[in-house]
Amino acid sequence: MIEYRSVAKTFPDGTEAVHDFSLVLPSRSTTVLVGSSGCGKTTLLRMVNRMVDPSSGQVLIDDADVASRNPVELRRSIGYVMQHSGLLPHRKVVDNVATPLRLGGVGRRDARSRALAALETVGLDPTLADRYPGQLSGGQQQRVGVARGLVADPNVLLMDEPFGAVDPIVRAELQQELLHLQRDLGKTIVFVTHDIEEAFLLGDQVVILRKGGEIAQVGTPAQILADPADEFVRSFVGLDRGRRTLRIQEVDGKRVVVDADGRAAGVLA
């Protein structure tokens, strides 16, 4: 379990990125922080592995304040996947994936074989292992990033818009694979995105944020759609434009679901 207790962050230049944020993120489930650019998502995420230290308040992992942990040790115990993969361009793919293991003191051979296994887990061809990141496509690089995040089998996985920079088809593929992986692995995932569709797809718990990390609403996707807290949320999730409105039409005795424009979305079972 991860818990934010009245966390605030003002950067040295005076920017107040997070005003007062409290939230509990249940273990072994995915919490998605969603909001528009600059609302403080990355800042909140990076408080978990002490890439950012809060100006006030606490972040706890399993009831222990992260401030009491050595930041380098803490980061090694937490998976981190970022946009643009964050791979080291001068290390081979397999060495990039093995990095968290090597830093944690795992031997070269052992690290390599575990890294190869992690590459397989994320659906990458092992022949790519000895290439450099620059020789991979954007989607492949993101997979490598996910493999690196998972390789040390951390309990907590932080993902900062990991699929934001790949094309929509690859993104959909990566999202499905993450869902699959999570079904097997049951990590505590904190996922950041500005895409509400992605948030609803991946999140067990979805947190909609306003500027300054202010929570507009927390809930399951269904709860948020059924009972949006206010106009901001309604418009953020697209309820105001009728984008979410589905209707049932009878066609040849079957009940077909159509969207606001009358396009068929599916059939009621």
Partner: protein
């Protein structure tokens, strides 16, 4: 040409001396400039001062420096150490700016990713920032190397012989062949050293050779 072959072993001896009188300052200059360059990049304000200090150092006339140094360090006047020190000072002065630029060329997001992966500061500098600064550092070493080989030719003026001796000797005897051969030898030595640095660069930075990588 006959003069060249007649004096081959003498020239080889001079070239050999010239080589180590150049390589040692280049290597020392590189090693010393690295931490200074890194520091110059880290602290915004102090960094500027450091960099301008380095360029001022470079404007001190070499002959003056060669004469002052024995007095400062108590070395004997004809000691080759004086030459090594002077050339190292220039190498550092030239290299500090490049080193600062080289560390500045490393992508912020890669450094950030390394931090997030759990590299300690020291591990990150040595295993991530240093290699990624490599291409710019190499370019700097190549410039310093050529300039040092050429600058080293003043050593005979204070009694330390190397390929520069062919200039001074040829000049005193009004013997143009010796001067021309001296120049050619210096150029060839500079080129050979340059090839050496490029080879070292290829060996130490294999990721730059693969197709399609940045």
């Amino acid at each position: 040409m006959t003069w060249f072959f007649d004096n081959l072993s003498y020239i080889r001896e001079l070239a050999w001396r010239h080589l180590w009188l150049s390589v040692i300052p280049v290597v020392l200059g590189f090693v010393i400039a690295l931490p200074i360059g890194y520091a110059a990049r880290r602290w915004r304000l102090g960094g500027k001062t450091l960099l301008s200090l380095a360029s001022v150092l470079y404007t001190i006339p070499s002959l003056a420096l060669l004469i002052i140094i024995p007095g400062l360090l108590g070395t004997s006047f004809l000691d080759p150490t004086n030459v090594l020190i002077v050339l190292t000072v220039y190498a550092v002065a030239l290299m500090v700016g490049t080193a600062a630029g080289a560390f500045g060329s490393v992508s912020e997001s890669v450094v950030d990713a390394a931090r997030a992966s759990g590299y300690s500061t020291w591990q990150r500098i040595v295993q991530v920032e240093l290699p990624l600064a490599g291409p710019v550092l190499l370019a700097g070493v190549r410039v310093v190397s050529v300039s040092t080989v050429s600058l080293a030719t003043i050593a005979p003026l204070i009694g330390v012989s190397n390929l520069g001796s062919l200039f001074t000797d040829g000049f005193q005897r009004y013997f143009a062949t010796e001067i021309i051969i001296g120049i050619l030898c210096v150029v060839v030595l500079a080129l050979l050293l340059d090839v050496l640095w490029v080879l070292i660069g290829r060996l130490t930075m294999p990721w730059l050779r693969v197709r399609g990588s940045r």
